[in-house]
Amino acid sequence: MNQRSDEQLIREYYGGQKESFTELFNRYKLPLFNFARRILGNRADAEDALSEVFMAIATRKYTIESTAKFSTWAYTVTRNACLTCLRKQRHTLSLWRKRDQGQGEEEQWQLPDQGPLQSEQAVLKEKVLAVQTALQLMPVNLKEALVLREYQDLSYKDIAQVLGCSLDNVKILIYRGREFLSNHLSSHDPELFGKEGSL
């Protein structure tokens, strides 16, 4: 009757039950992929990062005895994969930038088929692009913290563990991330983000 915890699953997996891996994979592929996707700014690298994490799981990098939650461990590994990737990206920065500014090639946004909302959807689409651009510009240390909070819904405590910093630090990082966004979103298109433009 109980849903098995992540830790239980991985114990089972290391004990030989492969279906537990599939379950873990299904639980974590979306959150981890989207975390990497938002940090890295493109899908291809994010998919590489995702693959790296699951290979780390398969090669027994997670120690069952460790007191760390599996989820924070997984985010930590993903984050490290992202940082490594970004370091490599630095050498090819100009290329990536160009590609990412185009945005159009990647299928970012699938419109659900709701007829009457078309104009609203156009606005929404524009908003999404603005958000993506702003995040792309954000310093990575702020971005990590903010993404973990806003999208992955991690507690400050867990974020502190993933980033290896203090709780106070997390608080400030997230705050500064939001400040950054509020400046960038409003300067990007004051009409679109009119509400926030006032401050």
Partner: protein
């Protein structure tokens, strides 16, 4: 403290991550300073802007690639481990000796299909083929036990771990019907030993069905686990199917159903009153449909006849006057036992029109735990809720609370006109983590209480697969919490999704206690029915604590039996007791109850008789009027925001017993008969799937949405699933 110092605190406050002292500080600032308030809303807005960027899916070929790579890695690790550790080698050797007969048999059976693999270690078998197959069966099993006891604990553990890593194999050989005597004996001993997980024989379970199924789930093929058999005659490769370290449950199906004892016939002389609460839920039917469509025989506990009957819409007239519903009674012959009567009591709730709908405060409580990932759970839920959002009016305030691990507020009271915001909130839902159901329910109720609309429709809509396991997870504790909350005028709607670990019993209980209703949503079609077409009845309660009490007239009725409503029965005193909770009726809802009646003239022995009382003089039956009345139906209900009940009553005379019952009567009786067949009820009489089909087809009527046609389809499916002896009762007729 100046404002710049306050800003990080407000940011943390938005996330609910401030200490008590900080919280007070921020809340004081929010109360006093416009600037702080503005900053707070700005942060909220940023958060919702961020969420316009929804989760994306990794491409499916990448997913596949990752899984494949992982398992490739697995395979390599396996081989290395098999060869290296000394202990494991010994264990493998013991395994080979023990399983030699099995191995050889498999080898022979597979014949040409098993190819020796290059580079495998060469070794010989202990004894030749004819010798090993000649081992007496019993001896082999005993030997196996003995041999594995020799291996010391440490090695045993190790070898188990190593071997179990290769558990998945695709079995393309040796169909099950080719079982040899040996295998039969072995499997039998395994079945025994699987009850005691410590027995060493479980170690050698071979060819188990469930692992074959699991293997199918990974859409890729490993080579069958191969073992090189050491020997002087040359390479031999055998296949073994090692066991998982402990017995695995057959298919991880952990659905729960409460067993229900069926209502019996009650003698009118002893029990003239029958009292029960209405039940507008329809979940049981939708759940049955899911089971039958996936070729499963529904467990008896999953069949709730009243919910099946109530799934369908009947054409009762709209109420006139002040009462929020009309009462419609029809009495005819019981189709499955023609010397019995069948009384149908139908309630029709008033349909609300747009201008009479109250304002609403809806809190969606959405389970986004890992178990909700399947396509028939969260994705279906999203589709369903989006359909619902399209129906919302500006007067409907929507909040969304999600729970997984911990509960979070996604939307706090957004107007129904702001569809885009609600939609994007729904869009970004994704599954992950475990389920803290209780915490979620508490948060949702808190939110509902915060945004309470006096005299309006305040409702928590819980969407889940019902698998609560963290926090106040005890059923009765949860129920207690919910019972408390319903006094504040907050109603609960429970929407059940998914399968596998679906907790039917728990969800029904929740909805029942929370002044609510309960639906099971298995398809988009069903989502449309509950969330669009019948949205009114799903969301708006027009009468609460609706109870029925039927008094039967002993001069006409010998005994009666209420069909279904087993868990809705009330004591006769409860009828007039306004503190006793009962079912709710939604706008436009129809509720139907069926009584099977044995007429007073019947010779049938109802049983359950008691000896005459010794110390009391039997009262002479007084001559009373109403001798032509069969029964009187009394109803009590409360308006949604009132606490004092109103009474309606209506009598039925023998003259009203009809020879040509209406379509609705025919159809509802067919559904009930279907339910009795699925339950294998002892009261099913001459019921048969053929009769059900015949009547359902004849009474199909207009059937605008095709619900009745669907029932006919289900009956046909059940016909093939439920054993024939069930349907005719032929072999069992006198057995009871």
């Amino acid at each position: 403290m100046n404002f710049d110092e306050l800003k990080p605190l407000i940011s943390a406050y938005v996330d609910g991550e401030t200490s008590e002292q900080e919280t007070r500080l921020v809340e004081a600032a929010l109360d006093s300073s416009e600037e702080a308030r503005q900053y707070y809303t700005q942060l909220k807005a940023i958060s919702s802007d961020l969420h316009t960027w929804q989760n994306e899916n990794p491409s499916s070929d990448v997913e596949l690639k990752i899984q494949r790579e992982v398992f490739k890695k697995e395979g390599q690790a396996m081989q290395r481990k098999q060869l290296l550790p000394k202990g494991a080698t010994i264990a493998v050797a013991v395994l080979i000796m023990v399983s030699a007969p099995l191995v050889v048999q498999n080898y022979l059976k597979r014949g040409t299909q098993s190819h020796p693999v290059k580079g495998m270690i060469t070794a010989g078998l202990p004894g030749d083929v004819s010798q090993t197959t000649a081992y007496p069966v019993k001896g082999t099993v005993a030997d196996a036990r003995h041999a594995s006891q020799v291996v010391d604990e440490k090695d045993k553990l190790k070898s188990r771990k190593d071997l179990s890593g290769a558990a998945e194999t695709k079995r393309q050989y040796a169909p099950n019907y080719l079982k040899s005597e040996y295998e039969v004996a072995r499997d039998a001993s395994i079945n025994l030993s699987s009850q005691s997980p410590k027995s060493d024989q479980t170690f050698f379970r071979a060819r188990s069905k469930e692992t074959a199924e699991t293997a199918k789930e990974f859409a890729y093929t490993t080579t069958a686990s191969m073992i090189a058999i050491p020997g002087k005659d040359g390479d031999r490769v055998a296949y073994y199917e090692p066991l998982l370290p402990y017995p695995v449950e057959n298919n991880f199906n952990t659905e729960q159903y409460d067993d229900q004892v069926e209502n019996e016939f009650l003698k009118v002389t002893e029990n003239p009153l029958s009292t029960f609460s209405i039940d507008v839920d329809t979940a049981s039917y939708a759940n049955l449909r899911r089971l039958l469509n996936s070729q499963q025989t529904p467990p008896v506990g999953a069949v709730r006849i009243e919910e099946m009957v109530n799934y369908f819409v009947y054409s009762y007239p709209q109420p006139k006057g002040e009462d929020p519903f009309s009462v419609n009674i029809e009495v005819g012959k019981a189709p499955w036992k023609t010397d019995h009567l069948l009384a149908k009591i139908g309630l029709q709730g008033k349909t609300l029109t747009a201008d009479t709908l109250p304002e609403s405060n809806l809190v969606f409580l959405i389970d986004v735990s890992g178990s909700m990932e399947d396509s028939n759970k969260l994705p279906l839920l999203k589709t369903g809720f989006k359909m619902l959002v399209q129906q919302l009016r500006p007067e409907e305030m929507v909040s969304i609370v999600t729970y997984a691990g911990n509960a979070g507020v996604l939307l706090d009271s957004v107007s129904g006109s702001d569809k885009q915001r609600i939609m994007s909130a729904i869009d970004q839902l994704s599954a992950g983590g475990s389920t803290a159901g209780a915490q979620g329910i508490l948060t949702a109720y808190e939110l509902a209480a915060k945004n309470l609309i006096k005299g309006g429709n305040n409702r928590v809509i819980l969407a889940t697969d019902g698998d609560f396991n963290i926090g106040v997870s005890n059923d009765s504790e949860l129920v207690k919490i919910i019972e408390e909350k319903r006094k504040q005028g907050i109603f609960l709607t429970v929407l059940g999704f998914g399968m596998g670990n679906y907790k039917d019993s728990k969800m029904e209980k929740l909805a029942d206690k929370g002044n609510g209703n309960y639906y099971y949503i298995d398809t988009e079609r069903e989502a449309k029915k509950v969330l669009v077409r019948e949205l009114g009845s799903t969301l708006f309660t027009i009468a609460k604590d609706v109870k029925l009490q039927i008094e039967f007239n002993p001069s006409q009725v010998k005994a009666y039996r209420l069909i279904g409503y087993e868990n809705r029965m009330l004591a006769k005193e409860d009828f007039n007791d306004d503190t006793k909770d009962a079912g709710e009726l939604g706008a436009g809802h129809t509720v139907t109850a069926l009584y099977e009646i044995i007429p007073a003239s019947s010779e049938e022995d109802v049983g359950g008789s008691v000896d005459a009382l010794k110390y009391q003089v039997p009262q002479a039956k007084p001559e009373i009027g109403y001798s032509d009345e069969v029964m009187t139906v009394k109803l009590r209900y409360k308006k949604p925001d009132e606490e004092i009940s109103k009474l309606i009553s209506q009598s039925v005379t023998t003259a009203q017993i009809t020879e040509s019952p209406s379509e609705d009567f025919q159809f509802s009786s067919a559904v009930a008969e279907f339910g009795m067949l699925l339950k294998n009820s002892k009261h099913k009489g001459n019921a048969s799937f053929e009769d059900v089909l015949k009547r359902a087809r004849a009474a199909q009527g207009k059937d605008e949405w095709g619900y009745r046609a669907e029932l006919i389809d289900l009956v046909q499916k059940a016909q093939t699933l439920v054993p024939e002896t069930y349907t005719t009762g032929y072999g069992f007729k006198n057995a009871e």
